[in-house]
């Protein structure tokens, strides 16, 4: 659905040093489902999205979207692509409805579709108020409504939960999940890791303009965790001795044992301990959460070329 090969974007100011916002970024976003695009501030997420949407020109590299080369085929692909780029930008002195009408006319979208989109995002009652009276969350909802107007096959959303209250975040999450289940491709950038973990089928992490990990959430988590199990026992010290005599390495961590065996060896582990009258109070894989993986991956990156 989206393919990037060697995408690079340099900014060359008239004065000062050139900066590399994206550095040979390769990325493949499959069709259907929610794809999370993670990275710390300044990693190049928004620049990547701007390149895809033709707002900034890539310095080099190849982009494909909806099976067509970008930017050449953008006028056609944009008809099937809904997007939010960074902060939702609408005319503050127009009403929410008028903003959508101005955009809708570009693709022959009628008043009924606009009313439905406003209803979907819960803005019907305030639709005729000026956007400048909206809260940030309401503006974000309006931007989501605008992105949905074209009934898009591909949604590219840059931080769509920005400014939303907790209830709004849950609603947006559910909406995006639903859209993903419907077969649409939802490409969503965010720095809110739990959101992506709960919502995305696959994800990519970038740092300093470079891809540092991609895959399903489990695959990305697995890429950074050592195989192991956490074992709780009343006598952890004796447990460690028993396992050592069986040739299984382990260490004491916060009163529990961290055992160097894969989760698939859980049965052997519990049997070995039970045969020595040691009964489990806890047994689970030693998992890292996405936040830890994210921080490790992004802090590992060397500085990008200047």
């Amino acid at each position: 659905m989206i393919e990037l090969e060697g995408l690079r974007k340099e900014y060359r100011p008239l004065r000062g040093r050139r900066t590399v916002a994206i550095d040979r970024l390769d990325l493949a976003v499959p069709e259907g489902g929610v794809f999370g695009f993670l990275g710390p501030n300044g990693a190049g997420k928004t620049t990547t999205i701007r390149c895809l949407l033709g707002l900034v020109a890539a310095t080099s590299g190849r982009m494909r979207m909806l099976d067509a080369d970008i930017p050449n085929a953008l006028p056609e692909t944009i008809r099937h692509t809904g997007s939010i780029v960074e902060a939702p930008a609408m005319f503050p002195r127009f009403s929410g409805r008028r903003n959508l009408e101005v955009l809708g006319r570009l693709h022959h979208i009628g008043a009924r579709t606009i009313a439905e989109a406003l209803e979907t995002v819960g803005l019907s009652e305030r639709a005729d108020d000026r956007v400048k009276t909206y809260s940030l969350g309401m503006r974000q909802r309006l931007a989501i409504a605008a992105a949905m107007l074209k009934d898009p096959a591909l949604l590219i959303l840059d931080e769509p939960a920005n400014g939303l209250d907790p209830a709004g975040i849950v609603e947006v999450r559910q909406l995006l999940r639903r859209l993903g289940r419907e077969g649409r491709t939802v490409f969503v950038s965010s720095h809110i890791l739990p959101e992506i973990q709960q919502m995305a089928d696959r994800l990519a992490i970038i740092a300093r303009g470079r891809l540092v990990a991609t895959g399903t959430v489990d695959e990305v988590l697995a890429s950074r965790r050592a195989t192991g199990m956490i074992v709780g026992l009343r006598d952890a010290e004796r447990g460690r001795s028993v396992l050592e005599s069986e040739g299984i390495a382990s260490s004491l961590v916060d009163g529990r044992l961290r055992v160097d065996v894969p989760p698939s060896d859980a049965e052997r582990l519990s049997r070995t301990l039970a045969e020595n009258d040691l009964y489990l109070t806890e047994l689970r894989p030693d998992e890292m959460d996405l936040e830890t993986v994210f921080l490790e991956l992004t802090s590992d990156q060397p500085a990008g070329p200047e």
Binding site: R50, L53, G54, L55, V56, A57, P71, L74, P75, I78, T81, S83, V85, A87, P88, A89, M90, F91, P92, R93, F94, R98, E101, V102, L103, R105, L106, H107, H108, A146
Partner: protein, 253 residues
């Protein structure tokens, strides 16, 4: 392209600055003509004469050119300021089309509004002259007024092109208005003072000749209407190309 033009027209006619300035212009004309009616005394030297209408129309041309300039500059500058240019380009990424559609819509709208306001002025002028002034010695005034109305309307549209193109370069309405006023009031005056021979090539003098509709004597030469038209055309073409090029090649951050 039709869809884009319809969208641009809806955007422009929803803008309060257009509605406000148009209403302000109409109110100013009503007030002005009311005062003229009160001050006009038939049969005296203070009576309103219909034959003076073309000069009155040319006299208000400056206001209408500034109106065009403000509408043109704000139609682009407001988009950059609100960030909605990026939103628009995620719906229609062909920037040349966007630029051309906006120029067409703004130029036509400014022309129609400028002509409508002048028509209102001319209608009221005729009414007041008929009731409280004189319509004598007004032969040919209709044709002269029609010509003035169209030329002033065209010049107001030219002002809008100037405002739009420079706002596209600077991505700001204020910067565009400032740049135009500084150029016309300071740079051209300075150039005319230093190099009198350059006068015939200046925008302001060409605009005056165009609105007047007849040649003007400048020092020891004559600036014809056609030459003024050509000069204005070159200026507008240059700023249009510069604005479009800037819009096409610069990143939208």
């Amino acid at each position: 392209m039709i869809a884009l033009l319809r969208s641009e027209f809806l955007r422009l006619r929803s803008r309060r600055v257009l509605l406000f300035l148009t209403a302000l212009g109409a109110a100013g004309i009503l007030v002005g003509m009311s005062i003229a009616a009160l001050k006009s005394h038939p049969g005296t030297s203070q009576q309103l004469e219909l034959s003076g209408l073309p000069d009155i129309l040319k006299g208000i041309s400056f206001i209408l050119i500034v109106f065009g300039l403000v509408i043109g500059a704000s139609s682009v500058g407001a988009d950059w300021q609100a960030g909605s240019m990026a939103t628009l380009l995620t719906w229609e990424p062909r920037r040349t089309r966007v630029f051309v559609a906006r120029v067409v819509v703004v130029v036509l709208t400014v022309f129609v509004v400028a002509v409508a306001l002048q028509a209102l002025l001319a209608g009221l002028f005729l009414l007041v002259a008929d009731l409280r002034g004189t319509t004598e010695l007004a032969g040919g005034v209709g044709k002269a007024s029609e010509g003035a109305i169209l030329r002033v309307g065209a010049m107001a549209s030219a002002g809008s092109v100037l405002g739009m193109s420079i706002a596209m370069l600077g991505r700001s309405s204020t910067a565009a208005l400032g740049a135009v006023f500084v150029y016309l009031a300071v740079v051209e005056n300075l150039l005319r003072g230093l190099y009198p021979g350059i006068t015939r090539w200046t925008f302001a003098v060409s605009a005056v000749v165009f609105v007047d509709g007849k040649p003007a004597r400048l020092f020891n030469e004559v600036l014809t209407f056609d030459r003024a038209l050509l000069t204005l055309g070159v200026y507008l073409a240059l700023v249009l190309v510069a604005g479009l090029t800037s819009f096409r090649v610069r990143d939208v951050d």
